[in-house]
Amino acid sequence: MNVKNILLCGVGGQGIITMGKLIGTALVNKGIKTRVTEVHGLAQRGGSVNVHVRFGEDVYSPLICEGQAHAIVALELIEAVRYLRYLSRNGILFVNDVLIPPPLPGVKIPSRNEILEEFGKLKVKFYMVNAVDLALKAGSAAAANVVMVGGMLALDLLPLTLEDMEESIRENLPPKFHEINIKALRAGYEKVARLKEL
């Protein structure tokens, strides 16, 4: 079937729903059949968030089934582990090197090393960037989500060019954030393009 499945995940407030919107807009602008679904409600921040992105001629359902995601793009390490079950056996795991411990008293949190070890056991293509650092250099930590979108383009996860995505940024975000986000997009693209060469 002509379908591509990408699962985006992270923590409420990191801009995951905006990522879905940016990607979805760019895909629809190209006339590609697209479904992007999210769950929200129950407070605005701090919860575990996932967005399913599906596109291609044969897409009907908005939901990705377990083991079927061609890629998982995670803005946070614990959440990357939480949604691993969605990743296909030979998929791509692309993560932001950030660990946000849930603010729950007395709960054991896995360390960054434990999580990276876990990823090491998988037979998937693994890429990691520090999207927050790159976003800060572009002008705002809040653009880390767009850094990841840039990385997705470098990994050929989307049938889109940097220009397509820049157009979507201009369509979806307020004008004063355009420059920062376009910088962040390119930074993510370049960083991952270099990682790919290694």
């Binding site: 992007v36 407070a43 939480r82 691993l84 990743l87 603010p103 008293p105 369509e171």
Partner: protein
Amino acid sequence: MPDRLLGPPGEEVLLMGNEAIARGMLEAGIAVASAYPGTPSTEIVEALSRVAETVGIYVEWSTNEKVAIEVAIGASMCGVRAAVAMKHVGVNVASDPLMSLGYSGAEGGLVIVTADDPNAHSSQNEQDNRYYGMHAYIPVFEPSSPGEAKDLARDLYDLSEKFKTAVFLRPTTRVCHVRGNVVLGELKKPMKKGVFCRDYSRWVLLPVNSRRLHEEAVERIEKLSESLHEFKYNFLKKGNGSFGVIASGVAYTYAVEALKELGVYEEATLLKLASTYPLPKRMLKEFFESIQGEILVVEELDPIVEWEVKIFAKEERFDTLIHGKDLLPRVKELNTDLVASAIAKMLGKDYSLHAHYKSTLDLPPRPPTMCPGCGHRAAFYEIKIASAKAKVNAVYPGDIGCYTLGFFPPYRLVDISFSMGSGLGIGLGIARASDEMVIATIGDSTFFHAGIPALINAVYNKVPVVLVVMDNGVTAMTGHQPHPGSGYRATGEKTISLKIEEVAKAVGVEFVEVIDPYAVEASIKKIIEAIEYVKKEGKPAVVVARRPCALMVYRRKLRRGEKVTVYSIDEEKCVRCGICVNLFACPAIYVEKDAYAINPVLCTGCGVCAQICPAKAIHPRGG
């Protein structure tokens, strides 16, 4: 940025299901839209309020769903097209006028959106509102995608007026909150003002009219059922095999993908239903006549179509085996895997799920939390300390809103969460049926929605109970919609701001205090006073804990480019007592290698932690 909602006809854009429904309503020329916010329905009227002034329509956030539907009914009685939207449980609140509406029918086109929430992603239950359609003789239509939701919302207005009935549009979370391709149609100029269509025989439900109207309602549904085989959103795809599948709503999309994945799409005879009450009987007959094998009914939640189809088959003497909830779950959401497994089972085929990774790591849960700087967190902390100081072991009925999160540790100050406004009402029963001290919490929007009658009851029946109103100025959880206390309307237009303390005094509460939860000591003192008053006087007391939503304030500051003075912990002074993390639990405060610290990115500078720190180790940064 031009609003995508008002894009030119023919343009293909990405719209969320709810926005698509709003666009469909604009293409139908609605003049009035009303709603009370509730996930997953909120964005429909939110989108309409965004463009209300531009297109010249009337849009309101109503105090509750009952009022919202009444406003829409009034508009319909004037012959204009009206829309009302609510989450599934909102229909419970609106159900009284709804039942009468089923009898009276509508004049101007009237679409009631019930956004159902299989899986209860953000609701107290998974109720299936198709029952309401059957219960009230109001037809039910289910879209399967954002694009179809837009077209269906538009075309249901013609159907509503042709049959003089209100109709239910029932999207579910996986339509409401799915963004997808939508091809825009022509916007229709609304007929803004009508004339009240006086009709004693329809609008006055005295027994003499009701008995006749009941008969008419039954006939209306029969007549509609006869015409539905021509309704383009129902369709029949004949297959070259012997088996059949009937699917409705978003479950249709799972059915198509499941059939393709199993490689039996060409074989299957597939009946796609948009109208699930009543069923298109002629089409159903054709479906039965074109298959010899077994049938699977694919629908989320209750087996409503399955039951109707089984009755139909019995009446028409089709003895095909009909499957449904014997092969599919009745609870939670469906997906392609579940449907593929069910079809495979029916066909006696093997279907194994895709191999997937399982992590061996023990992951911490990540429930939603109150934001850093949230006034509710401070208020809960104060209620906890006040209860301890007043030596009461209280029962804490809660309600529905962000403050329901007071349920989670370390607060644990929500013993009950039922339905909008029920915390106080149930608390009254507890106060009367036991010797427990009752300290109920309710949000500002919920107070206006359904809290006031219970408060009047408390005054009238002299019930000893403390009510803390968690007033953050907006309906926060659904995305900051205004309410009667906010001072502005859905469109941003300025209006009166009703003060909760004045409402409480007006209904006869004698102990009414307003606190600022950011002022910790003063707030604790007032809550203790309220508890003492209730103990001594045996009457209700109201404390309004007022602090604007921290997230809203934070965003406003960001927009204006204002600086936030964040706090930090002085490691020298910190005695590592853990109160800030273990009792107050602000997400901005964390412990790393035994050292307590504040994340400057998350801190909003509320300063509450500085007040609760016994070692006075927390200070404004650079201060």
